[in-house]
Subunit: 809 residues, 2 copies
């Protein structure tokens, strides 16, 4: 997360709010509309959007406050570092020609190719997940074995501090490796990766997030951090890995390795890539939890806004293949090849369906647990929020980050050791001996230390023990202390510069207090056998805690049902997740949303704020106007593209201005990326004659440059060439979506959200003047955009179309 | 289904294809564009859209055929009887004023109200489902008891034909009651209701489908038909019931009962109603199968195109409440109040998770079964398709329909009786005696006839027995004969004029051949114990058969997992459903889609046909142009609305035409329903002075009239009033969505699908002439619309906007 922190601190430095400020923090532009809006009201528009859409501020109140209070680190502003993805196909002549040339058969082949790619994504994601699983298990196994032997050796000798040091050093060493890789090689690989994938699916391009290098560092990092005994899980990184695999495989090449397989070229655009990344994320969830349906729902709940049946089936297919691959290889690893339904493959152990019963009178208890989970989750998020701000301010150098990670690792080991040491909760070793590493310590022979079960284990195994160990395995005091200690550790850990997820620690905390809850219940009503199973309450507690932290409902229900192999608890889990969400939302957003906000990502929510009907497109559109003519001088294009203050990404094309300087009508939209490719290939009108011998520019040339279009600075244009003309007709999108300037904001928002737009042109069709603008898809709200109203150049023009674009979106 | 049949036969009678034909079967309009399109090509556009989007016809081939081949009953044409729903809020001044007046708190209250309504929907749906469940069980119980006693009596006496007659008469009597109600009182209540709900969610208003009367008849009908022993299930009708409940509750009034509770008035529009109907359908699925997650997925897979997180959570909530209500009341009925997780509440019985194992080498077997299911499902659909066409042609009078239903009931009884009679498959009665009505017949004492288990039971119980009875319960020959007989009966039954679903019969057929498959397998590989459980194969077979018939995948997987309470088979079920879908789609569409096509419903698919890029909006837009001025003469409005040949539902409003007759520019869109309310309230400019004393027309007046706006004929307008003027400015939507006329069809389609539009205005912004048109949302494809190109009235006009609307959409 620290890389994100850096971004935020970077953006917070740009505090001058001038034209060049990288933050969209309201309109400082002097050119206001002819509507009677004061500067305060203007600012209000910017402010409303960026700061507190959810807060209840009446417009009047708002205008009064001329500026928002200074927020410590400007975390509520939006960073301009992020560009948005464009899910709208640019239907220019080249594209239409290609599409029209394709036969029905061609489209069918494409469809089959999509399925094949999804299969591949699923397979590779499953494979990676399997690798992570096995590596973590092996490494953690070696580590715990070494420490156990050491403890056993020194328990009698009395030098247990040596064991502690050994444990802490081993932990720190693992974590150091992972943290070094993350901090110095690829900072974006830090954290769980789910916020980044959420942003990507929302339409925000987080730089470097789906690169091969990120994948490698992520996988390495997560193995190190889990093996290093941190309070982390490997699920988030698996989901991220799936997304990276999808983004790579679907493009048929690796830009990092400079290897182009010349396949899947059709899919080299944002629209198609997004679909595959959804599939990859689903495959990741599916592999992480063995939950294919949960994976699909995760992708849909967190990501896609446009539901398409065929796409869903493909995502489902990728998820299935992923689980299948994982289970197949794990079944081989476990020595039972082919036994795909073996209970060992169920992540959190299968709940036996005969023992799982619940009754009507338990429902209120579940609801109470849900509320508790919501409160605890909110507490977690709040503490983590302040911690992250602290990190942003003070721990932004990579070496400091590595040191913090190592410190946490050492502290984790120490706390665990202290817990185990001071706990005198001895339990008899069962016949079946389900414990991996039973620590005897000061217990009698044939007994083991039960605190060690929770701490001396990977978190995933601890969850399993809490769910399934028979009643009486844990002492209530042990559980209580464990909950507190682990809560603190997990809060501290999330946001470190290591690859690590928060799912498993959340589940573990919840399982611990849930089991405690169950034990206490059975004390109160000792006679009733239905209370007897604390594992049930551990499950419910785990759901409540996780729900309180991440605030997912539908997908999480299905994930937990699939990961425990039991449908009966579906209803209580739902209930608990709903309650946790409602209670938690009262205090603070979900953890991922908190971190997305901290990154200043312009995240587009599901709906426009309800009270935004009084805003119209005209009031939120952006300046300055930059259009091109249908046939434009190369020099002007280069100048406009090089202008860093108006760092636009899409330009309306207008019909050539006639005499008396009146702006032309809109006739298309051209993207920065397209212009750059055109400049690179020097597609000038003057060269048309010589181009007859040359080949014509094709869609392939644009695809080859995707997605890393060179910056304008890298393209050399000579003085002579600057005088040439460029004909944009063939390359512009002649039918961009437009709205009239009186359109209300929710209507504009709906267009943005439903169609995944990056640019939207606002056109006036009144006779006097008209303004057109582009919105930003991916902006946290579509209206943190500046307002401009250009006066009519020529009142006599019947329909004047001006075009305003917002920069670098 | 027969009511649908009537509609089709009605539409097939209008064969003349004149201006007044109710079928949108291509453009016969002489006013063609200035593009070089022959009449053949023109027709092609119409044809392509209505007839065979999926067929591979190159444009050249197509132009050659000037007319489509005559199709027996015109089933591929689209009926104009259906209107479409409008999911686009008309954001006129009244609406915006209301929205702007509302505080943040107001919106929060609305949101809470939505949750309350969803809870109510869930509760009522669960209650209705519970009622149906209990009524069916009781009635069927009495019937089977009576028949059983009669059989036992006559087995020794030798007059078993009397028993047969008793059985047949009882069956026919039940079915007659149900069929009479459906055929004479509410024909739309026939069938499962799922196709109708699918259409509703797709945006097509099937008349009378969500009325209270339909609900009553449906519930009564389904109880009769299941109790009458037909090969039907009660699941489809439950889903339909949920949707009706939702449509009713969310509106806070019953138009049928003329009772307005004055609540939920804000939700009286298509947008909100659709959302609630999705929730209702989900609650229905949830109650029918005990599958809340499956319900949500069903609603999403079959219905909604726009995925909204909050909406999904509400739907999920409704589903949860519905399952909870049902389980709660059923637990009371079963005498175990409060035991919500009792296995008896799981629809198809809980699969014990210890016995359920599968291995890698069974995967190919599952795929084979999936393919078999696909083939058998396609066969089912094809036979039922031809049968339905036969019914459309020959059995369209209600009394004939009732007689057919009675005949089927009698035949079902006879076949069942014959099967039981000639079967000599005796099985020993177990100790636990799971059989409800074990028939001894000619078996030895302590034995029972196993054929009777399958036939002498409600289909749902038979499915349960096939899933769970221990190996050896069924004789392979018995199963084979049963499969054949039941397949034939089920095909014949679906489409009768009774309320009945196809889910359970499909599952039953599949379970029978699946179990047979399992038994045969265990013969082949007798030693291996993993083959030993034929129940597993019954489940897989059931999934395959159902998937082959209805072609759902994701939702069906989850439904089956939830209904059997077992997650382990999730993966094989997915695999089987995917295979069944792929194989089945090769032959024919799913059963619901077949019936939707047979109803000539203009169903909008997920994507535009892939090869439609060569069509532009201009080529598919519709004629004739009918616009209103901003201030229009009442007489003209009445005339236009009364004109049945151009039966439009939305009219572009243009700025008042100036002198020299040039059309004005578009400035809004007004709906027929709005005009009718305006006429009814006589909102004329001339009355403005007297209106000062009167109250101003409010949004409430429009809501009160929703959804049954009176026809224009019922509104009296005097000659004097005809001369008055009406100012539409305040009531029209000033910012309708528009597209340029060169927009490609997929782009237009995407707008329609993603935004749920009913009208889309096509505007030209070239100087010479521009055409604008409305599309139809809900049309099977957006382009069965006629083409027009009006010449410019005045070339000197800088921007002329003509508007073309297609009729009655």
């Amino acid at each position: 997360m620290a890389n994100i922190a850096k971004k935020v601190s970077w953006s917070s430095r740009g505090d001058d709010r001038g034209e060049r400020t990288p933050l969209l923090n309201g309109a400082e532009d002097g050119k206001y509309s002819n509507r009677q809006l004061s500067g305060g009201a203007m600012f209000h528009i910017g402010r409303l959007s960026t700061v507190d859409l959810e807060e209840e501020i009446t417009p009047e109140e708002d205008i009064v406050r001329s500026r928002p209070k200074e927020i410590p680190h400007n975390e509520k502003l939006l960073s301009l570092k992020f560009e948005s993805l464009d899910y709208d196909n640019s239907e220019n002549q080249l594209f239409l020609e290609e599409e029209r040339r394709m036969s029905h058969m061609g489209f069918r082949c494409l469809e089959i190719t999509r399925w094949v790619i999804c299969g591949l994504i699923g397979f590779l994601t499953g494979l990676i997940a399997c690798m992570i699983d096995i590596a973590v298990e092996k490494l953690a196994g070696y580590k715990y074995l070494a420490v156990k032997q050491n403890i056993e050796k020194y328990t009698e000798l009395g030098g247990l501090s040596i064991s502690l040091i050994l444990w802490a050093v081993l932990n720190s060493a693992f974590v150091m490796l992972g943290s070094l890789a993350v901090a110095f090689l690829e900072p974006i690989a830090a954290g769980s990766g789910i916020p980044q994938i959420k942003c990507f699916l929302n339409g925000v391009k987080i730089p470097r997030v789906v690169r091969l290098k990120t994948l490698v560092i992520k996988v390495f990092g997560v193995i190190c951090s889990v093996a290093g005994g941190l309070a982390v899980g490997k699920e988030g990184p698996m989901i991220h890995s799936g997304a990276v695999v999808a983004a790579g495989v679907s493009q048929g090449r690796s830009t990092s390795l400079k290897k182009d397989f010349k396949i899947f070229e059709y899919f080299r655009r944002d629209t198609e890539k997004r679909d595959f990344v959804s599939a990859g994320a689903a495959a990741g969830v599916s592999a992480a939890f063995g939950a294919p349906v949960g994976g699909v729902l995760f992708s849909l709940e967190e990501g896609a806004s446009f539901w398409n049946q065929l796409l869903t089936w493909r995502i489902f297919f990728a998820s299935m293949v992923s689980t299948f691959t994982l289970n197949f290889f794990l079944s081989i690893y476990h020595g039972k090849p082919g036994q795909l339904s073996s209970p060992g493959l169920i992540n959190f152990g299968r709940f036996d369906s005969d023992s799982v019963q619940y009754n009507l009178y338990e429902i209120p208890l579940f609801i109470i647990m849900g509320a508790l989970g919501g409160v605890l989750g909110a507490l977690f998020n709040i503490i983590n929020y302040w911690l992250t701000i602290f990190r942003i301010r003070y721990i932004h150098r990579p070496c400091l980050q590595v040191m913090e990670a190592m410190l946490v690792a050492a502290v984790t080991a120490t706390v665990s050791f202290a817990m185990i040491y001071f706990s005198n909760d001895c339990q008899p070793l069962g016949q079946d001996n389900t414990e991996e590493y039973p620590l005897q310590l000061f217990c009698a022979d044939g007994e083991y230390n039960s605190m060690a079960t929770a701490f001396f284990n990977t978190p995933e195994r601890s969850v399993r023990s809490l769910f399934h160990n028979p009643p009486g395995t844990y002492n209530p005091v042990t559980l209580g202390v464990f909950t507190l200690a682990y809560f603190a550790l997990a809060v501290w850990t999330y946001g470190l510069t290591v690859s690590a997820g928060v799912f498993i620690p959340s589940l573990l905390i919840g399982a611990a207090w849930g089991r405690l809850f169950g034990i206490l219940l059975s004390f109160i009503a000792s006679s009733q056998s239905i209370w007897a199973d604390p594992g049930k309450y551990a499950l419910i507690g785990a759901a409540a805690q996780l729900g309180g932290i991440v605030r997912m409902t539908l997908s999480l229900t299905v994930i937990l049902v699939e990961a425990t192999g039991n449908v009966t608890y579906g209803f209580p889990i739902m209930l608990v997740l709903m309650t946790a969400k409602i209670v938690g939302d009262y205090f603070i957003e979900g953890l991922y949303d908190v971190h997305i906000k901290l990154q200043s990502v312009p995240f587009l929510h599901w709906d426009a704020p309800p009270t935004s009907h009084w805003l119209t497109a005209r009031e939120v559109m952006s300046s300055p106007v930059t259009c091109f003519n249908r046939v434009e001088k190369v020099g002007r294009i280069v100048d406009v593209l090089s202008n860093t203050s108006t760092n636009h990404n899409g330009f309306p094309v207008v019909s050539d201005t006639t005499e008396n300087d009146e702006p032309g009508k809109i006739c298309g939209l051209i993207l920065r990326s397209q212009l750059i490719v055109l400049l690179k290939h020097k597609v000038f009108v003057e060269r048309a004659s010589s181009r007859l011998s040359q080949r014509k520019l094709q869609l392939k040339d644009f695809r080859d440059a995707y997605p890393r279009f060179p910056p304008i600075q890298s393209i050399h244009v000579s003085q002579d060439e600057r005088e040439c003309m460029m004909d944009l007709t063939e390359f512009m999108n002649p039918t961009p979506y437009t709205v009239p300037q009186e359109t209300s904001l929710p209507r504009v928002f709906k267009l943005f959200r439903a169609l995944g737009l990056r640019h939207l042109v606002v056109v006036d069709n009144e006779n006097r003047v008209s303004v057109s603008l582009l919105f930003y898809c991916g902006s946290r709200s579509a209206f943190n955009l500046q307002l401009i109203f250009r006066d009519a150049q020529n009142i006599s023009a019947i329909l004047v179309v001006l075009l305003v674009i917002v920069g670098r979106y």
